[in-house]
């Protein structure tokens, strides 16, 4: 079974990242940038690059990486459908708490189902939640395969692997849609910053 369900494409905006951010208080609410996509799509790489850029501008940020959380908060969870939903729920709850504290939170999590991502959005609050779809053809992700997980999944040594024998439901209306096989990391970061500028998200230091 090929698990990638693709039903929507959205053009990218390549305007430059604004350089005028200040570290002065404007809002008292943080923002959650929720990176979703296949394994090896580039979620963590782009989120980390954005994190670096935002911190350099004096913002308070936090990275919540799905792989890292699997060794901590979510260590008791497996990869069944139920456990995956619970994984997404917990990460969303933590992201919401961090946004409450005024942080800009980057979540890098496959979060394969629309239902779970919708749930995450509702937990965080739609007004401070942005879904960032890190889109790459399955063939490209499989070719990258930095951890050898696709190879294991194809050989049957790994089960419930997103894109192989578990579905990935592509976002329908993501706030930002990045084609990570076409864009450079820098261009992806610029696209996100451009969206943040347009949307007037609460990205300013509150303290």
């Amino acid at each position: 079974m090929e698990g990638v369900i693709d039903d929507y494409q959205q053009p990218n905006d390549h305007s430059a990242c604004a350089s005028h951010r200040s570290a002065t208080a404007v809002h008292d609410q943080g923002t959650v940038l929720w990176f979703t996509g296949l394994s090896a799509s580039g979620k963590s790489t782009i989120a980390n690059a954005l994190d670096f850029a935002l911190r350099a501008q004096g913002l308070k940020t936090c990275m919540l990486d799905g792989d890292v959380l699997r060794n901590g908060l979510c260590r008791d969870l497996g990869f069944s459908a139920v456990d995956r939903e619970e994984n997404v729920r917990r990460v969303a709850e933590v992201a919401a708490l961090m946004a409450d504290a005024g942080l800009t939170v980057m979540v890098a999590l496959i979060s394969p189902t629309r239902t779970a991502r919708h749930h995450a959005r509702s937990i965080v609050g739609s007004e401070r939640f942005a879904e960032i779809f890190v889109d790459v053809p399955l063939a490209v992700a499989e070719q990258r395969d930095p951890k050898g997980l696709y190879r294991k999944a194809r050989s049957g040594a790994l089960h419930n692997f997103t894109g192989i024998d578990a579905p990935y439901e592509t976002p329908v209306f993501p706030e930002v849609h990045l084609r990570s096989d076409v864009l450079s990391i820098g261009e992806s970061v610029e696209d996100i910053c451009a969206w943040l500028d347009r949307s007037g998200c609460s990205l300013y230091d509150v303290f």
Copy 2:
């Protein structure tokens, strides 16, 4: 069964709260202040007062209140011994992530067992963890009973209630020991600030 196990008393320090904190970067690590004690001991009240004082000094803070988390991150957990341990574990994991992001985190959680609190300390990292024992005689907590929980527990309508039919293991070497039936809220806050000053905890703004 009376569930309060008391085996240690530690004198309080009443020196004044330092007023010289700055919002400039000194450390890049946050601190976790872990308030433990019986229900109605005053954990949340004191933690909130401290939170207010620290924020007024320009610090980035976050409150993790056990009662609130029971409606979010830990909503799937009950009050069995196993679920209570898992509750403490999750809160500690989140507190650690927030400390990583540079926040001063106040946790208000009964966290009745030494094992669970020890586990919390090991998750957060001992060098940035302070156990604050909010100590009150059971009789006083039961008299306060703001939510009527002790009454319910005594009547048998509520089971596994700490201090009544579930044990509270008093801290052996808490970093701060507050007798909340003797001290005012302001004195309690001062005691904590005095300890923070003495210990040189990472309470300074990092951004």
